[in-house]
């Protein structure tokens, strides 16, 4: 009966283009005004824009635009790219995803032209985060894999691990838990070797969700406790809040309502302290659900009152921030509660409302599923095409090799013929000493010429076969040169006949 309760929060890690230091915005503004250098101005505004993107994206956007103006004035590609990335980052924070993609792609192009691999990888990562937000999981995966390849080359271990963790998150979302686990484990082993506690805490927490899905609650608890311990050391309150909430879920699944409530309340308190409405809403809903469960076991009126209070609060908060899926879940709990209280009229109205919302959500979800399938189908077609092309190239290379073998055979036969011709010729000229000088001329120049050329052509053939290049001109050359040799042989024969 608890299986519908699945508010497991995903910890997504955002990697942005990293800067050496986090200077104060005021001092950066000051520096930007002081300097006369446009590219420096662009540089400072770009920094400010990045720092603002997290909390004040509207302001950040203005600074990013300023950065872009100065960057364009200074004609520095690097600064232009930086400003574009800053614009993208702020647009993403404002949920203007199409603009975010647009500017990321522009920045990508510029960073590519500069050969700045690390920044290219960072942009790939930003693109994957945007695509993930849009529900394009596969596109997000593609971008992540591109970033992974680059980090592999430039040996940035931590960034590589972060990308792997993001890949694992995406696989988790599309319910490929096997792949998800694989990537979490790979990321985890890197974090272990680097010893960064915050990274470890986040990754442990994410792995715990996998065990929860697999109903291996004991393992899930172990990982959550590891994560909690590390988050406490690192003072990561949001991390702790998520851990508490997930731990509460584990206890609720295993029917330990008291413990579940304990952790839900811890999470709820933290959410209040940090003033995070979405977490206040979900933790309140969880508390309400836990009370309702307890009421069904013990039928105490107080528990029912508590359940109603928290569920109502959760539903209204979810409604205020447009948190549709949790709202539906909590509303259903509330319907059940009204039924238990015999308030059928209330139950009926709420049920009607919830059903309508659920239908529209399902429609949306269905569209996403269809889009996903469509994308998978396209990818499959593309892969097939690539495989087909590979086959074609293979066959071509085989044919080339066959042709080359044939040519080599022809050349060797010709060479032997020429050799015999030369021997006969030399033998004859020895008998005709009077024509010695003319013959020498023929031998050293005319005769050697095409043979040397043939040697050169065969050298090129070997080279081109290895590189898989076309050889049409060389084949013509072989024909021309052999005809030349043929003519010389004919002339020699004529001469010797005359003598």
């Amino acid at each position: 009966m608890f299986s519908k309760l699945k508010f497991l929060f995903l910890l997504l890690f955002f990697v942005k283009i990293s800067f050496a230091q986090n200077q104060r915005i005021d001092s950066l503004k000051h520096l930007a005004i002081e300097t006369n250098d446009d590219s420096l101005k662009a540089y400072y505004y770009e920094h400010i824009a990045f720092q603002q993107s997290k909390d004040f994206p509207h302001e950040g956007l203005e600074f990013a635009q300023k950065a872009l103006d100065f960057a364009e004035k200074s004609k520095s590609t690097k600064r232009i790219a930086g400003a574009q990335a800053a614009l993208a980052s702020n647009y993403r924070s404002l949920s203007s995803y199409s603009e975010a993609i647009d500017f990321n792609l522009k920045a990508l192009k510029n960073y590519r032209s500069l050969g700045d691999s690390a920044s290219v990888a960072a942009i790939y990562n930003n693109l994957s985060l945007v695509e993930n937000k849009l529900g394009n999981s596969l596109k997000a995966l593609e971008y992540n894999y591109s970033a992974l390849t680059i980090y592999d080359k430039i040996q940035q271990g931590r960034n590589k691990a972060i990308v792997k963790e993001n890949i694992a998150n995406i696989y988790f979302n599309i319910k490929d838990y096997h792949q998800s686990k694989k990537y979490y484990k790979e990321a985890l082993s890197t974090y272990h070797s680097l010893g960064n506690k915050a990274d470890l805490a986040r990754c442990y927490g994410n792995i715990a969700r996998l065990f929860h899905i697999w109903e291996e609650y004991d393992s899930s608890k172990i990982y959550l406790n590891k994560s909690i311990a590390l988050n406490k050391i690192e003072d990561k309150e949001v991390g702790l809040l998520i851990n508490y909430s997930n731990l509460g879920n584990v206890f609720l699944e295993t029917d330990k309502i008291d413990s579940a409530l304990h952790y839900y309340f811890l999470a709820n308190k933290t959410a209040h302290r940090l003033n995070l409405t979405n977490f206040i809403a979900t933790t309140s809903g969880n508390i309400g659900t836990a009370y309702l469960t307890e009421y069904k076991n013990h039928t105490k009126a107080e528990q029912l009152r508590n359940a109603e209070k928290y569920l109502k609060r959760a539903v209204s908060l979810c409604d205020s921030i447009g948190f549709v899926a949790p709202k539906i879940e909590f509303s259903k709990e509330l319907v059940e509660l009204y039924e238990l209280k015999n308030e059928y009229q209330k139950a009926f109205i709420l049920l009607e409302e919830t059903k309508a919302e659920e239908d529209s959500l399902n429609n949306l979800e269905n569209k996403k599923v269809i889009a996903l399938l469509e994308h998978q189908r396209e990818q499959e077609i593309r892969e097939n095409e690539i495989a087909l092309k590979d086959k074609e190239i293979e066959i071509k290379q085989l044919n080339n090799q066959k042709r080359l073998l044939g040519l080599i055979l022809v050349i060797s036969i010709l060479s032997v013929l020429i050799l015999i011709g030369t021997v006969v010729y030399i033998y004859r000229i020895k008998r005709h000493k009077s024509q010695m000088s003319e013959i020498k001329q023929l031998q050293s120049h005319e005769f050697r010429g095409p043979i040397a050329s043939m040697k050169g052509i065969s050298k090129l053939m070997r080279q081109r076969v290895q590189e898989g290049k076309k050889m049409d001109d060389l084949i013509t050359a072989v024909y021309d040169l052999s005809e030349k040799m043929d003519n010389i042989v004919k002339r020699i024969i004529n001469k010797s006949n005359h003598n």
């Binding site: 001329q441 050293s444 120049h445 050697r448 010429g449 050329s453 050169g456 080279q463």
Partner: protein, 128 residues
């Protein structure tokens, strides 16, 4: 140090030379002329412009109107005005000892090379 001028009437020998140099020494630039007369024109026209002049000249012997040795006899007079002193190699298919002797006797020729040009020679030139 990678400008090369090839003086050779044979289209195929030009092609062979170019492709071998391209694959072993991609930074080098290879210019070709089909006759000794063309080479003389080119060098005297660009005598003042050091950046246009080659570092190395590869000279064929047997060519229809003026041969390699004909070029060499004209060479001292062009060299006087030239801003650069290219190294000349004779690249020929001839095995005639008298050709080789004559080539080696010329003060402007660095050495006599047999066609087709060997990879080792180009590699060696690249190292210089």
């Amino acid at each position: 140090m990678g400008k090369i001028l090839v003086i050779d009437d044979s289209f195929y020998d030009q092609l062979i030379f170019k492709e071998i140099v391209e694959s072993l020494w991609p930074e080098a630039t290879v210019a070709t002329v089909d006759s000794a007369e063309e080479a003389i024109d080119f060098l005297s026209l660009n005598a003042e412009k050091a950046e246009q002049l080659p570092d190395y000249i590869f000279l064929d012997i047997k060519m229809p109107t003026m041969d390699g040795f004909g070029f060499l006899s004209h060479y001292p007079s062009i060299l006087q005005n030239m801003q650069k002193n290219p190294t000349i190699f004779m690249l020929s298919s001839s095995l005639d000892p008298s050709d080789i002797e004559k080539a080696n006797a010329s003060p402007h020729v660095h050495s006599f090379l047999e066609k087709p040009i060997s990879n080792e020679f180009i590699e060696g030139l690249k190292q210089k």
